[in-house]
């Protein structure tokens, strides 16, 4: 019998497509229902119902009712970034353990409110990121064992190779907003937040230090979709950390044909004795054969950046087949790690409290990109 009843918040065209199925595949879990707030737009409610239907569970259109259920132990939370503060607090106050989509929230106040509610409730929390992957664990071990000596730098990249590149208009310097308020659009997302959170969380976790200063730049280099909403498709950070080390982190989307696999997902760790690269693409198997080479797939009108597996499935988008991974999916590794922590009643490393700092760094990054100056934290 399953040990944990799991409630899914959010549906298709959110990362719940992956997290929900990863929880469902774990024998410790039973998916109880899909739920969301009652006053969400009809298109979102429809996509939530679709995931519930695909997973064979009911859809509960009133989150409060769903959270009152005694058979819900864990909430997998994929509300839109703009609603995460409110929904995250509500889940914690209901006494449920929470698995958060990344980033924790779209603002520092919301992120802090979530972390405070989680602490008050005494529940466990974890935000999805890359730290439970085998390559990230190898990097952490190398740092802890002094393989590169005393660490001096951490340099992480999360650059997603999806979307049709070359559609942006004439290049011009981007004028960034110091306080972005909207992050989620149907066609695109703010990539320095959405992708940058992976690399920022990676460098801070590896360093085990807090960021002291943040310098960042953003740009519109590849996609008309981002340009049309005046949001960046690429961002980069330079950080100084407590203790003297430095870090850089990139987050962006570079287009389908800019990488032989899913994208550049890696970290370079440097130190007084040497440096080493740890990558999602390593180890890998490379296949060269007479299959047709990968070519630009059709663009889904509701998902031109190819963010969701459901739209790729609907279009029959072929995968890139030349580089073959030797690891399980990062989502399965991460949800499994969260459940291990619940089994042992220990706090996950990437909990809500830790994830607050990512939001602080990224929001400081937007202020820096707007002003052209480093920002002290």
């Amino acid at each position: 019998m399953a040990k944990y009843g799991v409630l899914l918040i959010g549906g298709n065209r959110t990362h719940q497509e992956g997290y929900g199925r990863a929880f469902a595949e774990d024998p410790r879990c039973k998916i109880v229902a899909v739920a969301d707030e009652p006053d969400i737009p009809e298109y979102r409610a429809g996509l939530n119902r679709l995931l519930a239907h695909e997973m064979g569970v009911p859809y509960i259109a009133d989150l409060e009712t769903a959270l009152r259920r005694k058979d819900v132990d864990v909430v997998s939370m994929c509300a839109d970034v703009e609603r995460r503060g409110r929904v995250g607090v509500q889940c914690a106050e209901a006494g449920k353990h929470i698995y958060f989509d990344k980033p924790l929230a779209g603002g520092v106040e919301d992120a802090r409110a979530i972390a405070a509610a989680v602490q008050r409730a005494g529940v466990h929390s974890q935000m999805f990121c890359q730290i439970t992957t085998p390559w990230a664990q190898a990097a952490k071990k190398a740092v802890q064992e002094g393989k590169v000596g005393v660490p001096t730098g951490f340099h992480a990249d999360m650059l997603m190779a999806k979307g049709r590149p070359g559609t942006v208009g004439a290049r011009k310097p981007r004028k960034e907003r110091s306080r972005p308020e909207r992050f989620t659009f149907v066609e695109a997302k703010r990539e320095m937040l959405d992708m940058g959170v992976y690399s920022v969380s990676m460098v801070l976790w590896l360093a085990g230090k807090r960021a002291r200063t943040v310098y960042a730049t953003t740009g519109n280099f590849f996609f008309a979709e981002h340009e049309s909403h005046d949001i960046e498709d690429f961002g980069a950070f330079s950080l100084t950390l407590d203790g003297g080390a430095i870090a850089t982190a990139t987050g962006g989307r570079i287009g389908w044909t800019s990488h032989p696999r899913g994208g550049v997902i890696r970290v370079v760790v440097t130190g007084t004795k040497g440096s080493a690269i740890f990558s999602e693409a390593s180890p890998r198997i490379e296949v060269f054969n007479d299959e047709p080479p990968f070519s630009l797939p059709r663009t889904h009108p509701w998902d031109p950046m190819a963010m969701w597996s459901s739209t790729m499935r609907d279009l029959g988008t072929p995968g890139k087949r030349q580089w073959v991974s030797m690891s399980e999916s990062p989502q399965s590794a991460d949800t499994s790690s969260f459940l291990d922590c619940l089994d042992r009643d220990v706090e996950p490393e990437m909990n809500a409290r830790a994830a607050v700092e990512h939001v602080e760094v990224i929001m400081a990054g937007y202020r820096s990109a707007a002003s052209g100056k480093p920002v002290k934290l």
Partner: protein
């Protein structure tokens, strides 16, 4: 300015040639990490200067602003160009295997070059 390494000059010209041919569209971002052994004349600042000059050559001109952070013999120069593009150039001097890891992202494609010791996976 350090004496330009012949390998570095070849890299500069090769990448520049690809950019000129339009193979990756308009160059947008340079992400470059390089680590070399210590020599009497080589400092992180000098290595960074050489890399920054080359990055500017690829990006179509010198940067209009730069932010520098350093830790020991490692130096990151984060450059912004008038075109709106940027570069993150990391120069490190120290022991261990040399590393040269370059990525250039253009509006329609990417250039990858280099070798950094692999840390492996668990």
């Amino acid at each position: 300015m350090i004496q330009m390494d012949p390998g570095l000059s070849r890299l500069q010209e090769s990448v520049k040639g690809l950019i000129k041919q339009g193979r990756v569209g308009d160059p947008a971002v340079v992400r470059w990490y390089m680590r070399t052994p210590a020599t009497r004349h080589r400092t992180p600042d000098a290595l960074s200067e050489a890399m920054t000059t080359i990055a500017g050559d690829w990006m179509g001109g010198p940067a209009i602003s730069a932010n520098v952070v350093r830790s020991g013999k490692e130096l990151v120069t984060h450059l912004a160009y008038g075109s709106g593009g940027f570069a993150i150039v990391t120069a490190a001097i120290g022991p261990g295997e040399p590393a040269n890891d370059l990525m250039v992202f253009g509006s329609r494609g990417a250039i990858y070059h280099g070798r950094t010791p692999e840390g492996g996976s668990l």
